[in-house]
Symmetry: C2
Subunit: 432 residues, 2 copies
Amino acid sequence: MKPSLTPYKGARDFYPEDKQRQKWLFDVWRKVVERYGYQEYDAPILEPTSLYTMKGSQEIVNEQTYTFTDRGDRSVTIRTEMTPSVSRMIAGRRQELAYPARWYSIPNVWRYERTQRGRLREFWQLNVDMFGVDSIAAELEMLQIADDLMRAFHAKRKDYVIKLNSRQLVNAALTSYCGLSIDKGSKLVRLIDRIHKMSTTEFVAEVQLITEDVSVSKRVIDLIKAKTVDMLPAELHGHPSLVSLQKLLKDARSYGITNIEFDITLMRGFDYYTDIVFEVFDTDPENNRSMFGGGRYDGLVAQFGVEPVPTVGFGMGDVTFMNFLESHKLVKKLPPPCEVVMIVREKDTIASAQRIAQDLREMGMKLAVDISGSKFDKQFKNAVKSGANYVIVVGEEEIKNEVFTLKDLRSGSEQKHSMQRIVSIVKDHRRA
Amino acid sequence: MKPSLTPYKGARDFYPEDKQRQKWLFDVWRKVVERYGYQEYDAPILEPTSLYTMKGSQEIVNEQTYTFTDRGDRSVTIRTEMTPSVSRMIAGRRQELAYPARWYSIPNVWRYERTQRGRLREFWQLNVDMFGVDSIAAELEMLQIADDLMRAFHAKRKDYVIKLNSRQLVNAALTSYCGLSIDKGSKLVRLIDRIHKMSTTEFVAEVQLITEDVSVSKRVIDLIKAKTVDMLPAELHGHPSLVSLQKLLKDARSYGITNIEFDITLMRGFDYYTDIVFEVFDTDPENNRSMFGGGRYDGLVAQFGVEPVPTVGFGMGDVTFMNFLESHKLVKKLPPPCEVVMIVREKDTIASAQRIAQDLREMGMKLAVDISGSKFDKQFKNAVKSGANYVIVVGEEEIKNEVFTLKDLRSGSEQKHSMQRIVSIVKDHRRA
């Protein structure tokens, strides 16, 4: 049977121009987080399934994983996210590490989902995590980095908004203020997490189903109407979680992050978040969706049977983020991957041309020699097709006289020079 | 159940120091191949199983793959090598591409194997391939790159040897010279591929089992004793495959690749090789093993039902190669991932310290602020532990006077400066 020409559904082939664009994205990500002292780590893409059956990822494990049994009868899962792996790594070396430990990674992850715009089965995800800090100074740094990441791509403040919430505040509001049990509170958290996927009527009906009490329902519905911290019920003012949240909003704004706002309905799916959560949204009305987010998850490292390590972190997917960059026209025009193609006049000169090319490479030029032995015209056409900026022509004649033709494919201009001179022309243009 | 602290068997967690070393390896790989005009591509790690049931990878598919059925009832396989994926990609765009197409990739691949030194279940592999050139000018470039890769890590010529063979020459020798059928010839190719894993007696017995003729067996055994091209039977001299091989040896040597030699027993496992094959060996008697290799595989693209595209390429694994670098002491000592740690005297000063840090980052410094709020001594200890070169001390006093303490952790020297001055000191030392 003839194998298929298309890749597996929901996954992408990266042709050189696609890969170049992805590398540009990752390079900017790396540059930003490394400025803050974050160090890159990595973990295997295949993990024991038990890693994902911990608290927090149940839905994904049950419905969206690629899980199977290996030839040694172990249940394994292709990673769906990096957080469990990094928690394991921290737990494994918790005593040797220098804290705060600042770590990042850009893994590919797999989820068996229905594919649609912005949602594929394989995607890459920048993961930024800080371990060992239990104060909101850690959250503040996460917000700074999130904001810096947006600005490194020249996004304007009006193009995105950072929404902030506190799980502890929500818990306090649902239990102390609304008077719900912890169990019903959890159910409501899950419900509120889906609020933007249903109508108000549906939401109210679901709230009543959970609370079974009209006055409690009314409190819940009033609560989620609070668009600012000031609009929260008076009973919650002064609650430690609210004080922290207010300080965080104030500090972030003092750093110039003016596009940050409180959102009581922001939950983020994962159960493992313990306190502050945040999410960055595209403000474009056509594409008003969540781009990335994170929060504090103090309990995950301790699930490996060791003492807890306070943690904040966030993850940022390549597909969603690239959609944002595209729709806001922020994708950089990239230089051709190979700047110079050497065309060889005669077949017998190929070996000599390669020797000359080697000298040029050692001088720092990226140079592909057309060793096809095709006719001159065909070689020239292929050089143009490759997107190169320059063509150098080499033949017996040129080698004898040590003078070569350099053609600038953008301007069409053609000059004869020594190789030394050609190197400096190409390098000068590169800087320009 | 408590999840395990160790990664899946045969796979590695990359702690920041491990990842830094891996990135150094990959960066050198990239630098070398990009000089030759190779462009990076990528493909999904999960492929339809049918991609691997083509000619050439049978043994791996049957015994070493991670193959399973997805939730949509499709059989999928975690990639064991990149060659089938890249062949699919070329087949898919064969008409739009500019030839010669020079492509490279550094994928992770998975094989279910017994783990041992130099052999893990997950490893990364540099793949370098050229499409569209049917002359040995392509093989010559592969040898140049292979050699350049070794020398980019400062390996000496005596540290490695490049072995070269021709599958066509072997086929001609086994059929025309030894008089074997094509079928028996194939069996012998497979046997010779394993020659270094058995004793001479075992080998001879196996040859006799296949040939069933004493005089034929003698010819085969004589043949594989030929240590140089000159030692080959006279009947083979002048055969086109031998002429090509001789030219390739000569050209490579003329480029200074003096550590190249003919080896009639070199087959390389995969069935898809059609002509020249080569392999690079460590010459260290303690670790005299194959490091990487490749060859010509002209038939693979055509298996997708399209016209054939001539191809040469090779693959180089990270584990084997890193073993070579380690045993020859060629692993570079890498700089600390975060050069500066800022220590904050008072908890209340953290937010101001971060603001100052932000300015320094914009001036190009990689800087981690200790926002733990720990005691000064503990912060200092953690800075030393982190491997940073410098510590900057910030407190209320320092912010008021705009004078900060810079401590060089390597020399122990301590000076007071403005932030401007501190940036230039750190940057100057970086260049030194």
